[in-house]
Protein backbone atom coordinates (compact mmCIF):
# COMPACT_ATOMS: atom_id res chain seq x y z
CA UNK A 1 0.00 0.00 0.00
CA UNK A 2 1.43 3.32 -1.00
CA UNK A 3 1.87 6.24 1.30
CA UNK A 4 -0.68 8.55 -0.28
CA UNK A 5 -3.28 5.84 -0.54
CA UNK A 6 -2.83 4.90 3.10
CA UNK A 7 -3.21 8.47 4.21
CA UNK A 8 -6.36 9.09 2.24
CA UNK A 9 -7.89 5.84 3.41
CA UNK A 10 -7.19 6.65 7.00
CA UNK A 11 -8.59 10.12 6.56
CA UNK A 12 -11.72 8.70 5.05
CA UNK A 13 -12.06 6.28 7.92
CA UNK A 14 -11.90 8.86 10.67
CA UNK A 15 -14.03 11.40 8.84
CA UNK A 16 -16.79 9.07 7.79
CA UNK A 17 -17.15 7.54 11.19
CA UNK A 18 -18.98 9.14 14.00
CA UNK A 19 -16.03 9.74 16.23
CA UNK A 20 -15.40 13.23 17.33
CA UNK A 21 -11.95 13.74 16.02
CA UNK A 22 -9.77 16.47 14.74
CA UNK A 23 -7.37 15.61 11.96
CA UNK A 24 -4.24 17.43 11.09
CA UNK A 25 -1.44 17.01 8.55
CA UNK A 26 1.68 18.34 10.25
CA UNK A 27 3.96 16.87 7.59
CA UNK A 28 3.16 15.49 4.15
CA UNK A 29 3.51 11.89 5.27
CA UNK A 30 1.69 12.21 8.55
CA UNK A 31 -1.88 12.24 9.67
CA UNK A 32 -2.66 13.23 13.22
CA UNK A 33 -5.99 12.19 14.61
CA UNK A 34 -6.85 13.77 17.94
CA UNK A 35 -9.46 11.72 19.77
CA UNK A 36 -11.74 13.54 22.13
CA UNK A 37 -12.64 10.59 24.33
CA UNK A 38 -10.71 7.54 25.37
CA UNK A 39 -13.65 5.29 24.45
CA UNK A 40 -13.07 5.94 20.76
CA UNK A 41 -9.62 4.43 20.80
CA UNK A 42 -10.44 0.74 20.47
CA UNK A 43 -13.05 1.18 17.67
CA UNK A 44 -10.65 3.32 15.65
CA UNK A 45 -7.81 0.86 16.08
CA UNK A 46 -10.12 -1.95 15.07
CA UNK A 47 -11.13 0.11 12.06
CA UNK A 48 -7.51 0.58 11.09
CA UNK A 49 -6.88 -3.13 11.50
CA UNK A 50 -9.90 -4.05 9.41
CA UNK A 51 -8.69 -2.08 6.41
CA UNK A 52 -5.21 -3.51 7.14
CA UNK A 53 -3.74 -0.13 7.58
CA UNK A 54 -0.31 -0.12 9.12
CA UNK A 55 1.24 -1.75 12.10
CA UNK A 56 1.65 -0.32 15.55
CA UNK A 57 5.12 1.21 15.48
CA UNK A 58 5.14 2.68 18.95
CA UNK A 59 3.14 4.13 21.77
CA UNK A 60 4.59 7.37 23.01
CA UNK A 61 3.69 9.06 26.22
CA UNK A 62 4.24 12.79 26.50
CA UNK A 63 3.89 14.63 29.76
CA UNK A 64 2.59 18.09 29.04
CA UNK A 65 3.70 19.22 32.46
CA UNK A 66 1.95 19.95 35.75
CA UNK A 67 0.68 23.30 34.44
CA UNK A 68 -1.36 21.76 31.65
CA UNK A 69 -2.30 18.90 33.92
CA UNK A 70 -2.55 16.43 31.08
CA UNK A 71 -0.68 13.52 29.65
CA UNK A 72 -0.77 12.93 25.94
CA UNK A 73 -0.58 9.41 24.61
CA UNK A 74 0.34 8.87 21.00
CA UNK A 75 -0.28 5.69 19.05
CA UNK A 76 1.79 5.59 15.89
CA UNK A 77 0.68 3.38 13.01
CA UNK A 78 2.98 3.09 10.00
CA UNK A 79 2.39 2.06 6.43
CA UNK A 80 5.22 2.64 3.99
CA UNK A 81 6.17 6.27 4.67
CA UNK A 82 2.80 7.19 6.13
CA UNK A 83 2.49 7.61 9.86
CA UNK A 84 -0.97 7.82 11.35
CA UNK A 85 -0.91 9.08 14.90
CA UNK A 86 -3.83 8.75 17.26
CA UNK A 87 -3.57 11.24 20.07
CA UNK A 88 -5.38 11.00 23.37
CA UNK A 89 -5.25 13.45 26.24
CA UNK A 90 -5.81 12.09 29.68
CA UNK A 91 -5.59 13.94 32.99
CA UNK A 92 -2.42 13.32 34.96
CA UNK A 93 -4.44 12.32 37.99
CA UNK A 94 -5.81 8.81 37.48
CA UNK A 95 -4.97 8.56 33.81
CA UNK A 96 -6.51 5.50 32.22
CA UNK A 97 -6.50 4.16 28.69
CA UNK A 98 -7.89 0.88 27.39
CA UNK A 99 -5.39 -1.78 26.42
CA UNK A 100 -4.84 -2.60 22.76
CA UNK A 101 -3.47 -6.06 23.45
CA UNK A 102 -6.76 -7.72 22.54
CA UNK A 103 -6.53 -6.21 19.07
CA UNK A 104 -2.76 -5.94 18.67
CA UNK A 105 -0.77 -8.36 20.84
CA UNK A 106 2.49 -6.57 20.10
CA UNK A 107 1.25 -3.53 22.03
CA UNK A 108 2.06 -5.25 25.29
CA UNK A 109 5.64 -4.03 25.85
CA UNK A 110 4.71 -0.48 24.89
CA UNK A 111 1.78 -0.43 27.26
CA UNK A 112 3.79 -1.87 30.10
CA UNK A 113 6.40 0.79 29.49
CA UNK A 114 3.73 3.51 29.42
CA UNK A 115 2.29 2.22 32.64
CA UNK A 116 5.49 2.22 34.64
CA UNK A 117 7.07 5.32 33.15
CA UNK A 118 4.07 7.67 33.09
CA UNK A 119 1.70 6.12 35.55
CA UNK A 120 -1.02 5.62 32.97
CA UNK A 121 -3.29 2.83 34.05
CA UNK A 122 -3.89 0.49 31.13
CA UNK A 123 -7.17 -1.28 31.71
CA UNK A 124 -7.31 -4.77 30.31
CA UNK A 125 -3.57 -5.34 30.27
CA UNK A 126 -3.01 -8.83 31.57
CA UNK A 127 0.66 -8.78 32.39
CA UNK A 128 1.29 -5.88 34.70
CA UNK A 129 4.75 -6.94 35.78
CA UNK A 130 7.40 -4.31 35.56
CA UNK A 131 9.28 -4.42 32.32
CA UNK A 132 12.10 -1.95 32.80
CA UNK A 133 12.09 -0.40 36.22
CA UNK A 134 13.95 -1.95 39.12
CA UNK A 135 11.87 -3.74 41.71
CA UNK A 136 13.02 -1.51 44.52
CA UNK A 137 11.64 1.66 42.99
CA UNK A 138 8.42 2.65 44.77
CA UNK A 139 5.23 1.99 42.84
CA UNK A 140 4.17 5.64 42.81
CA UNK A 141 7.27 7.11 41.20
CA UNK A 142 6.89 7.58 37.47
CA UNK A 143 10.30 8.60 36.15
CA UNK A 144 9.24 10.08 32.84
CA UNK A 145 6.89 12.64 34.32
CA UNK A 146 8.24 16.14 34.06
CA UNK A 147 8.02 16.93 37.74
CA UNK A 148 10.06 13.92 38.79
CA UNK A 149 13.69 14.85 39.12
CA UNK A 150 16.78 12.71 39.10
CA UNK A 151 17.31 13.31 42.80
CA UNK A 152 13.84 12.13 43.63
CA UNK A 153 14.38 8.90 41.75
CA UNK A 154 17.75 8.15 43.23
CA UNK A 155 16.54 8.93 46.72
CA UNK A 156 13.55 6.68 46.41
CA UNK A 157 15.73 3.71 45.59
CA UNK A 158 17.21 2.22 48.70
CA UNK A 159 19.83 -0.44 48.65
CA UNK A 160 18.56 -2.01 51.85
CA UNK A 161 15.34 -3.17 50.30
CA UNK A 162 16.92 -5.64 47.92
Amino acid sequence: MKTAEALSKARQLVEEWEFKTKTDRPEPNRLDVALTTVDDLIPIVVGLRVIRLGYLAAITGVDLGPDEGDLEILYHFCTAAAVITLRIRVPRQDATVPSLTEVIPSAEPFERELREMFGVEVSGLRNKMRLYLPDDLPEDVFPMRKDVTDQEISQSVTLQEI
Binding site: P109, F110, E113, Y132
Partner: protein, 398 residues
Protein backbone atom coordinates in the same frame (compact mmCIF):
# COMPACT_ATOMS: atom_id res chain seq x y z
CA UNK B 1 -4.77 -28.12 36.98
CA UNK B 2 -2.56 -25.33 35.83
CA UNK B 3 -1.49 -24.82 39.42
CA UNK B 4 -0.19 -28.39 39.58
CA UNK B 5 1.66 -28.04 36.31
CA UNK B 6 3.21 -24.82 37.52
CA UNK B 7 4.56 -26.39 40.64
CA UNK B 8 6.12 -29.25 38.74
CA UNK B 9 7.88 -27.14 36.15
CA UNK B 10 11.63 -26.90 36.30
CA UNK B 11 12.86 -23.41 35.54
CA UNK B 12 16.21 -22.46 34.17
CA UNK B 13 17.31 -18.87 34.51
CA UNK B 14 19.10 -17.47 31.50
CA UNK B 15 20.63 -14.25 32.68
CA UNK B 16 21.06 -11.59 33.92
CA UNK B 17 24.56 -13.03 33.84
CA UNK B 18 24.91 -15.92 31.45
CA UNK B 19 27.48 -16.98 28.87
CA UNK B 20 24.84 -16.99 26.13
CA UNK B 21 24.05 -13.34 26.66
CA UNK B 22 26.61 -10.71 25.96
CA UNK B 23 24.49 -8.16 27.74
CA UNK B 24 22.48 -8.50 30.92
CA UNK B 25 18.87 -9.51 30.52
CA UNK B 26 16.80 -12.05 32.35
CA UNK B 27 14.90 -14.93 30.81
CA UNK B 28 13.16 -17.49 32.91
CA UNK B 29 12.76 -20.66 30.91
CA UNK B 30 10.48 -23.40 32.20
CA UNK B 31 11.46 -26.77 30.83
CA UNK B 32 10.00 -30.23 30.78
CA UNK B 33 13.09 -32.35 30.34
CA UNK B 34 14.73 -30.60 27.44
CA UNK B 35 11.56 -29.05 26.02
CA UNK B 36 10.74 -25.44 26.80
CA UNK B 37 7.22 -25.01 28.14
CA UNK B 38 7.23 -21.36 29.03
CA UNK B 39 9.44 -18.33 28.79
CA UNK B 40 9.31 -15.03 30.60
CA UNK B 41 11.50 -12.02 29.92
CA UNK B 42 12.46 -9.26 32.31
CA UNK B 43 14.16 -6.28 30.76
CA UNK B 44 15.79 -3.28 32.31
CA UNK B 45 19.19 -4.43 33.43
CA UNK B 46 20.94 -2.03 31.09
CA UNK B 47 18.75 0.99 31.73
CA UNK B 48 20.48 4.31 31.76
CA UNK B 49 17.60 6.71 31.68
CA UNK B 50 18.60 8.23 28.37
CA UNK B 51 15.13 9.40 27.36
CA UNK B 52 14.81 11.25 30.62
CA UNK B 53 18.36 12.50 30.54
CA UNK B 54 18.09 14.18 27.14
CA UNK B 55 15.29 16.36 28.44
CA UNK B 56 17.83 18.23 30.51
CA UNK B 57 20.50 18.50 27.82
CA UNK B 58 20.90 20.72 24.82
CA UNK B 59 20.17 19.40 21.35
CA UNK B 60 23.88 19.01 20.65
CA UNK B 61 24.54 17.14 23.85
CA UNK B 62 21.51 14.95 23.30
CA UNK B 63 23.00 13.78 20.03
CA UNK B 64 25.89 12.13 21.83
CA UNK B 65 23.68 10.82 24.57
CA UNK B 66 21.42 9.13 22.04
CA UNK B 67 24.38 7.81 20.11
CA UNK B 68 25.28 5.87 23.21
CA UNK B 69 21.97 4.03 23.35
CA UNK B 70 23.69 1.25 21.50
CA UNK B 71 27.32 0.44 20.94
CA UNK B 72 26.87 -1.43 17.69
CA UNK B 73 24.31 0.69 15.89
CA UNK B 74 25.39 4.01 17.36
CA UNK B 75 25.53 5.86 14.05
CA UNK B 76 21.99 5.02 13.07
CA UNK B 77 20.61 6.37 16.35
CA UNK B 78 22.47 9.62 15.86
CA UNK B 79 21.40 9.72 12.22
CA UNK B 80 17.72 9.22 13.05
CA UNK B 81 17.95 12.00 15.60
CA UNK B 82 19.77 14.36 13.23
CA UNK B 83 17.34 13.74 10.39
CA UNK B 84 14.45 14.46 12.71
CA UNK B 85 15.92 17.60 14.22
CA UNK B 86 16.96 18.94 10.83
CA UNK B 87 13.44 18.39 9.61
CA UNK B 88 12.07 20.25 12.61
CA UNK B 89 14.47 23.12 12.08
CA UNK B 90 13.68 23.19 8.37
CA UNK B 91 17.31 22.89 7.40
CA UNK B 92 18.41 21.31 4.15
CA UNK B 93 21.55 19.29 4.74
CA UNK B 94 24.10 19.24 1.89
CA UNK B 95 23.80 16.14 -0.32
CA UNK B 96 27.40 15.13 0.28
CA UNK B 97 26.75 14.95 4.02
CA UNK B 98 23.65 12.84 3.47
CA UNK B 99 25.58 10.50 1.21
CA UNK B 100 28.37 10.12 3.75
CA UNK B 101 25.81 9.41 6.44
CA UNK B 102 24.34 6.64 4.35
CA UNK B 103 27.76 5.19 3.57
CA UNK B 104 28.59 5.04 7.27
CA UNK B 105 25.17 3.60 8.03
CA UNK B 106 25.77 0.82 5.53
CA UNK B 107 29.27 0.17 6.86
CA UNK B 108 27.71 -0.05 10.27
CA UNK B 109 25.17 -2.53 8.94
CA UNK B 110 28.02 -4.69 7.65
CA UNK B 111 29.72 -4.41 11.01
CA UNK B 112 26.57 -5.34 12.86
CA UNK B 113 25.69 -8.29 10.65
CA UNK B 114 29.21 -9.75 10.77
CA UNK B 115 29.21 -9.38 14.52
CA UNK B 116 25.87 -11.08 14.69
CA UNK B 117 27.05 -13.91 12.47
CA UNK B 118 29.89 -14.56 14.90
CA UNK B 119 27.68 -14.45 17.96
CA UNK B 120 25.09 -16.71 16.37
CA UNK B 121 27.77 -19.20 15.36
CA UNK B 122 29.12 -19.14 18.88
CA UNK B 123 25.69 -19.87 20.30
CA UNK B 124 25.49 -22.86 18.02
CA UNK B 125 28.86 -24.04 19.28
CA UNK B 126 30.62 -23.26 16.01
CA UNK B 127 33.46 -21.20 17.38
CA UNK B 128 35.56 -21.37 14.26
CA UNK B 129 33.02 -19.42 12.24
CA UNK B 130 32.77 -17.01 15.16
CA UNK B 131 36.51 -16.35 15.13
CA UNK B 132 36.69 -15.89 11.38
CA UNK B 133 33.72 -13.59 11.06
CA UNK B 134 35.03 -11.44 13.87
CA UNK B 135 38.47 -11.40 12.32
CA UNK B 136 36.91 -10.05 9.12
CA UNK B 137 34.80 -7.61 11.08
CA UNK B 138 38.09 -6.13 12.20
CA UNK B 139 38.54 -4.79 8.66
CA UNK B 140 35.36 -2.79 9.11
CA UNK B 141 36.45 -1.54 12.51
CA UNK B 142 39.75 -0.39 11.01
CA UNK B 143 37.86 1.32 8.24
CA UNK B 144 35.71 3.22 10.70
CA UNK B 145 38.71 4.07 12.83
CA UNK B 146 40.56 5.40 9.84
CA UNK B 147 37.55 7.36 8.69
CA UNK B 148 36.33 8.86 11.95
CA UNK B 149 39.00 8.17 14.53
CA UNK B 150 36.96 5.88 16.74
CA UNK B 151 36.22 2.21 16.41
CA UNK B 152 32.82 2.42 18.07
CA UNK B 153 30.61 5.45 18.73
CA UNK B 154 32.16 7.09 15.70
CA UNK B 155 30.25 10.36 16.16
CA UNK B 156 30.18 11.01 12.45
CA UNK B 157 27.00 13.07 12.71
CA UNK B 158 26.60 16.59 13.88
CA UNK B 159 23.35 18.47 13.70
CA UNK B 160 23.39 19.81 10.18
CA UNK B 161 25.80 17.42 8.54
CA UNK B 162 28.78 15.21 9.17
CA UNK B 163 32.15 15.86 10.73
CA UNK B 164 34.38 13.85 8.47
CA UNK B 165 35.01 13.85 4.79
CA UNK B 166 35.68 10.88 2.55
CA UNK B 167 38.87 11.70 0.71
CA UNK B 168 40.73 9.61 -1.84
CA UNK B 169 42.66 7.63 0.76
CA UNK B 170 39.43 6.72 2.56
CA UNK B 171 37.79 5.78 -0.68
CA UNK B 172 40.59 3.40 -1.59
CA UNK B 173 40.50 1.88 1.87
CA UNK B 174 36.75 1.34 1.64
CA UNK B 175 37.01 -0.24 -1.79
CA UNK B 176 39.79 -2.56 -0.68
CA UNK B 177 37.94 -3.65 2.44
CA UNK B 178 34.76 -4.28 0.48
CA UNK B 179 36.40 -6.37 -2.18
CA UNK B 180 37.98 -8.50 0.55
CA UNK B 181 34.74 -8.79 2.49
CA UNK B 182 32.67 -9.58 -0.56
CA UNK B 183 34.73 -12.70 -1.18
CA UNK B 184 34.53 -13.71 2.47
CA UNK B 185 30.79 -13.11 2.55
CA UNK B 186 30.30 -15.49 -0.36
CA UNK B 187 32.19 -18.03 1.70
CA UNK B 188 30.06 -17.44 4.79
CA UNK B 189 26.89 -17.67 2.78
CA UNK B 190 28.14 -20.99 1.48
CA UNK B 191 28.82 -22.18 5.04
CA UNK B 192 25.49 -21.22 6.55
CA UNK B 193 23.47 -22.59 3.66
CA UNK B 194 25.50 -25.73 2.92
CA UNK B 195 27.25 -26.99 6.04
CA UNK B 196 25.25 -30.05 7.09
CA UNK B 197 26.22 -29.86 10.74
CA UNK B 198 25.35 -26.19 10.98
CA UNK B 199 22.04 -26.67 9.20
CA UNK B 200 21.09 -29.24 11.81
CA UNK B 201 20.98 -26.39 14.27
CA UNK B 202 19.23 -23.84 12.06
CA UNK B 203 16.96 -25.50 9.52
CA UNK B 204 13.36 -25.68 10.68
CA UNK B 205 14.21 -24.18 14.09
CA UNK B 206 12.23 -21.25 15.44
CA UNK B 207 9.87 -21.07 12.48
CA UNK B 208 7.80 -17.92 12.39
CA UNK B 209 5.17 -17.74 9.70
CA UNK B 210 4.33 -14.55 7.92
CA UNK B 211 1.08 -14.01 9.81
CA UNK B 212 2.83 -14.69 13.13
CA UNK B 213 5.51 -12.20 12.24
CA UNK B 214 2.91 -9.59 11.48
CA UNK B 215 0.86 -10.22 14.59
CA UNK B 216 3.92 -10.18 16.83
CA UNK B 217 4.97 -6.91 15.25
CA UNK B 218 8.48 -7.95 14.24
CA UNK B 219 10.67 -5.62 12.21
CA UNK B 220 13.87 -5.73 10.24
CA UNK B 221 15.67 -8.84 9.06
CA UNK B 222 13.66 -10.98 11.46
CA UNK B 223 10.44 -9.93 9.74
CA UNK B 224 11.99 -10.15 6.27
CA UNK B 225 13.08 -13.72 6.94
CA UNK B 226 9.39 -14.46 7.44
CA UNK B 227 8.53 -12.84 4.13
CA UNK B 228 7.19 -9.60 5.54
CA UNK B 229 7.80 -6.63 3.28
CA UNK B 230 9.22 -4.24 5.82
CA UNK B 231 12.34 -2.20 5.17
CA UNK B 232 12.28 1.53 5.78
CA UNK B 233 15.05 2.10 3.24
CA UNK B 234 12.69 0.81 0.57
CA UNK B 235 9.31 1.79 1.93
CA UNK B 236 10.09 5.30 3.08
CA UNK B 237 13.46 6.30 1.63
CA UNK B 238 15.32 8.80 3.79
CA UNK B 239 18.63 10.65 3.27
CA UNK B 240 19.88 9.53 -0.18
CA UNK B 241 18.10 6.18 -0.40
CA UNK B 242 15.70 7.66 -2.94
CA UNK B 243 18.62 8.28 -5.31
CA UNK B 244 20.34 5.00 -4.55
CA UNK B 245 17.47 2.58 -3.98
CA UNK B 246 18.12 -0.41 -1.77
CA UNK B 247 16.73 -3.77 -2.79
CA UNK B 248 14.78 -5.66 -0.19
CA UNK B 249 15.97 -9.14 0.75
CA UNK B 250 13.26 -11.53 1.83
CA UNK B 251 12.89 -15.21 2.49
CA UNK B 252 9.73 -17.23 2.95
CA UNK B 253 10.99 -19.99 5.22
CA UNK B 254 10.91 -18.02 8.47
CA UNK B 255 13.32 -20.29 10.32
CA UNK B 256 16.80 -19.59 11.65
CA UNK B 257 18.37 -20.54 8.36
CA UNK B 258 16.27 -17.89 6.63
CA UNK B 259 17.43 -15.29 9.15
CA UNK B 260 21.03 -16.23 8.40
CA UNK B 261 20.35 -16.09 4.70
CA UNK B 262 18.62 -12.71 4.83
CA UNK B 263 21.27 -11.03 6.92
CA UNK B 264 24.19 -12.33 4.91
CA UNK B 265 22.53 -11.52 1.61
CA UNK B 266 21.87 -8.03 2.91
CA UNK B 267 25.61 -7.63 3.22
CA UNK B 268 25.95 -7.83 -0.56
CA UNK B 269 23.28 -5.19 -0.86
CA UNK B 270 25.25 -2.95 1.48
CA UNK B 271 28.47 -3.49 -0.48
CA UNK B 272 26.68 -2.59 -3.70
CA UNK B 273 25.13 0.53 -2.18
CA UNK B 274 28.41 1.78 -0.74
CA UNK B 275 30.26 1.30 -4.01
CA UNK B 276 27.46 2.93 -5.95
CA UNK B 277 27.39 5.98 -3.71
CA UNK B 278 31.18 6.25 -3.73
CA UNK B 279 31.06 6.22 -7.51
CA UNK B 280 28.85 9.29 -7.68
CA UNK B 281 29.56 10.98 -4.38
CA UNK B 282 28.18 14.52 -4.75
CA UNK B 283 30.54 17.42 -4.12
CA UNK B 284 29.84 20.19 -1.72
CA UNK B 285 29.88 21.18 1.90
CA UNK B 286 29.79 18.77 4.77
CA UNK B 287 27.68 20.84 7.11
CA UNK B 288 25.19 23.61 7.23
CA UNK B 289 24.70 25.94 10.15
CA UNK B 290 22.08 24.84 12.61
CA UNK B 291 20.20 27.12 14.96
CA UNK B 292 20.77 26.46 18.64
CA UNK B 293 17.07 26.70 19.35
CA UNK B 294 14.88 24.40 17.35
CA UNK B 295 11.44 25.57 16.24
CA UNK B 296 8.61 24.18 18.32
CA UNK B 297 6.93 21.20 16.77
CA UNK B 298 6.88 17.47 16.51
CA UNK B 299 8.36 15.12 14.01
CA UNK B 300 8.78 11.44 13.46
CA UNK B 301 11.99 10.05 12.10
CA UNK B 302 12.13 6.45 10.94
CA UNK B 303 15.27 4.77 9.72
CA UNK B 304 16.33 1.21 9.08
CA UNK B 305 18.85 0.18 11.72
CA UNK B 306 20.77 -3.06 11.21
CA UNK B 307 18.20 -4.78 13.43
CA UNK B 308 15.12 -3.24 11.92
CA UNK B 309 13.03 -0.14 12.01
CA UNK B 310 14.20 2.54 14.39
CA UNK B 311 11.50 4.98 15.33
CA UNK B 312 12.18 8.41 16.79
CA UNK B 313 9.51 10.77 17.98
CA UNK B 314 10.98 14.21 18.61
CA UNK B 315 9.10 17.06 20.21
CA UNK B 316 10.55 20.52 20.58
CA UNK B 317 9.15 23.38 22.61
CA UNK B 318 11.24 26.01 20.89
CA UNK B 319 14.04 26.07 23.41
CA UNK B 320 17.54 24.65 23.18
CA UNK B 321 16.57 21.42 24.92
CA UNK B 322 14.24 18.75 23.59
CA UNK B 323 10.82 18.50 25.17
CA UNK B 324 10.43 14.80 24.60
CA UNK B 325 12.35 12.22 22.62
CA UNK B 326 11.00 8.76 22.18
CA UNK B 327 13.31 6.14 20.73
CA UNK B 328 11.57 2.90 19.85
CA UNK B 329 14.32 0.42 19.05
CA UNK B 330 13.83 -2.64 16.89
CA UNK B 331 14.74 -5.17 19.56
CA UNK B 332 11.73 -4.37 21.71
CA UNK B 333 9.47 -5.25 18.77
CA UNK B 334 11.26 -8.50 18.13
CA UNK B 335 11.70 -9.48 21.75
CA UNK B 336 8.12 -10.57 22.23
CA UNK B 337 8.43 -12.88 19.24
CA UNK B 338 11.29 -14.70 20.97
CA UNK B 339 9.27 -15.40 24.07
CA UNK B 340 6.50 -16.86 21.91
CA UNK B 341 8.83 -18.82 19.63
CA UNK B 342 10.79 -20.50 22.40
CA UNK B 343 7.87 -22.59 23.60
CA UNK B 344 8.06 -26.11 22.25
CA UNK B 345 11.71 -25.96 21.33
CA UNK B 346 14.60 -27.70 22.97
CA UNK B 347 16.65 -25.99 25.62
CA UNK B 348 19.63 -26.24 23.32
CA UNK B 349 17.82 -24.11 20.75
CA UNK B 350 17.06 -21.31 23.20
CA UNK B 351 20.28 -19.34 22.66
CA UNK B 352 20.01 -19.79 18.92
CA UNK B 353 16.43 -18.53 18.69
CA UNK B 354 17.22 -15.68 21.03
CA UNK B 355 20.18 -14.61 18.98
CA UNK B 356 18.20 -15.13 15.78
CA UNK B 357 16.53 -11.75 16.18
CA UNK B 358 19.93 -10.15 16.80
CA UNK B 359 18.88 -8.78 20.16
CA UNK B 360 20.48 -5.63 21.44
CA UNK B 361 19.55 -5.22 25.05
CA UNK B 362 21.25 -1.90 25.42
CA UNK B 363 18.97 -0.60 22.70
CA UNK B 364 16.08 -2.10 24.52
CA UNK B 365 16.80 -0.57 27.84
CA UNK B 366 17.41 3.04 27.26
CA UNK B 367 15.40 4.72 29.95
CA UNK B 368 15.06 4.94 33.69
CA UNK B 369 17.09 5.94 36.63
CA UNK B 370 20.09 8.07 36.08
CA UNK B 371 21.97 8.28 39.31
CA UNK B 372 24.07 11.22 38.37
CA UNK B 373 23.34 13.05 41.57
CA UNK B 374 23.30 10.10 43.87
CA UNK B 375 24.76 11.10 47.18
CA UNK B 376 28.22 9.94 47.94
CA UNK B 377 27.24 7.76 50.88
CA UNK B 378 25.01 5.74 48.59
CA UNK B 379 28.03 4.67 46.62
CA UNK B 380 29.36 1.72 48.51
CA UNK B 381 32.99 1.27 49.16
CA UNK B 382 34.45 -2.17 48.80
CA UNK B 383 34.51 -2.60 52.57
CA UNK B 384 30.90 -1.53 52.92
CA UNK B 385 29.85 -3.84 50.13
CA UNK B 386 31.63 -6.72 51.78
CA UNK B 387 30.00 -5.95 55.11
CA UNK B 388 26.65 -5.70 53.38
CA UNK B 389 27.15 -9.13 51.86
CA UNK B 390 28.09 -10.67 55.19
CA UNK B 391 25.09 -9.12 56.92
CA UNK B 392 22.82 -10.19 54.12
CA UNK B 393 23.76 -13.81 54.42
CA UNK B 394 23.64 -13.67 58.19
CA UNK B 395 20.11 -12.37 57.97
CA UNK B 396 19.19 -15.04 55.49
CA UNK B 397 20.56 -17.90 57.47
CA UNK B 398 19.06 -16.60 60.68
Amino acid sequence: MSEVVKKKSFTIPIGPQHPALKEPEHFLISVDGEIVTDAVVRLGYAHRGIEKAVESRTWVQSLYMLERICGICSHIHAMAFCLGVEQLAGVEVPPRAQAIRVIVAEIERIHSHLLWLGVAAHEAGFDTLFMYSWRDREKIMDLLEGFSGNRVNYSVNVLGGVKFNIDDAQETAIREAISFLEERTHHYLHIVTKDAMFLQRTRGIGVMTRSQAEVLGTVGPTARASNVYRDIRVEAPYAVYDKYPARIVMDNRGDLEARFFVRITELFESYRLILEILETLPDGDLTIRMPRRIKAGETISRVEAPRGELFYFIKSNGSDTPERIRARTPTICNMMSVVKLLVGHQLADVPMILVGIDPCFSCNDRMVVLNRDRKIEKLMTWEALRQYGIDYYKRRSA
